[in-house]
Symmetry: C3
Subunit: 149 residues, 3 copies
Amino acid sequence: MTDTPALAATPADLALYTEVKHFYAQQMHLLDDRAADEWAATFAPGGVFSANGLPAPAEGRAAIAAAARAAGERLDAEGLVHRHWLDMLTVRQQEDGSVRARSYALVIQTPLGGMPQLHRSTVCEDLLIRAEDGSLLVLERKVTRDDLA
Amino acid sequence: MTDTPALAATPADLALYTEVKHFYAQQMHLLDDRAADEWAATFAPGGVFSANGLPAPAEGRAAIAAAARAAGERLDAEGLVHRHWLDMLTVRQQEDGSVRARSYALVIQTPLGGMPQLHRSTVCEDLLIRAEDGSLLVLERKVTRDDLA
Amino acid sequence: MTDTPALAATPADLALYTEVKHFYAQQMHLLDDRAADEWAATFAPGGVFSANGLPAPAEGRAAIAAAARAAGERLDAEGLVHRHWLDMLTVRQQEDGSVRARSYALVIQTPLGGMPQLHRSTVCEDLLIRAEDGSLLVLERKVTRDDLA
């Protein structure tokens, strides 16, 4: 638990918290809406997406977009809709301005004509940085599936 | 994705974000607590609730309250509890002061003595306006079930 | 619904809202990460945790930590991971500075090598107070399971 932020909060913490939360909502919409390139653009150019459910990390926007595109095509072929929910977010600004964020992430899977089900329960650990225009970018994301932990 | 807000955030955006999130929590409590008239009062007098799971939109507070009351009576008759979860919210203030909000919404259904299950996974698109006292009201809500999409 | 806050929001309400949300995320991480003593320290020294799924309330940090430790050991023995999600939060600051918070809470349960499932759907009602350093503490928590309600 060394990464747990102190439990007292400043106004700057609270603004950052909401900003990250909004960023995640936007990012998940892009992923679930199959906007693979826009999704990849929410990562830094050299961003890395690693997960204990993947054989190897995806490094760089092209690889991240390709992975999202491939996943979307599989879902389309099977008639499935995925919704990614991230919450139970904690954020901690570091001295260099980067942000450590830890959240839980669920994947809700719904087949056409069927009932939704919990597909994955994971923990998502991000290192976020700022683009030149001040918006957030994911430099490193590590997703840990509970069923494989 | 033309409705996706820019990913950079201003303090006003963040305040609006939190306000809408709080509004939704209050609104869902009213619905799930069977406060049908109070739920309907969170819509504008001419508010419209449409959904791809409904035969026709509910227009106006009386129709919205009646639909909630009928749904609650069905749940009571079957011994079911519903909890509506809205999150992964994005908000975008428009020039006229109204707000476009897009979120994911889940319905969690629990039978008395049984296990909870995911009943619905949906996308909720709202057009929000301000009442005279400044509080938010839903002018238009469109709910799209993933299983019917 | 007498505890429902008014639907208009002030900047102070919004800051409090985000603060409580962040507090809950930190608190649930501690619980799910099996940091039983740190979890218990988010309650006031005389804090009380009561639930309609428990034979008796846990009173005081030692009892709250012991209950969390026992639950964690059961999960380990069965190869299960629990993730607690709290959201659909409403907050209301009272005149004495304490805070009434009402939220929905889910427990997501994932067996090693299996699929996640909804384990519990509950309503969580808290009375929160401030520690000397200004951080939040739970003085009273009441958790109501939907399947027992």
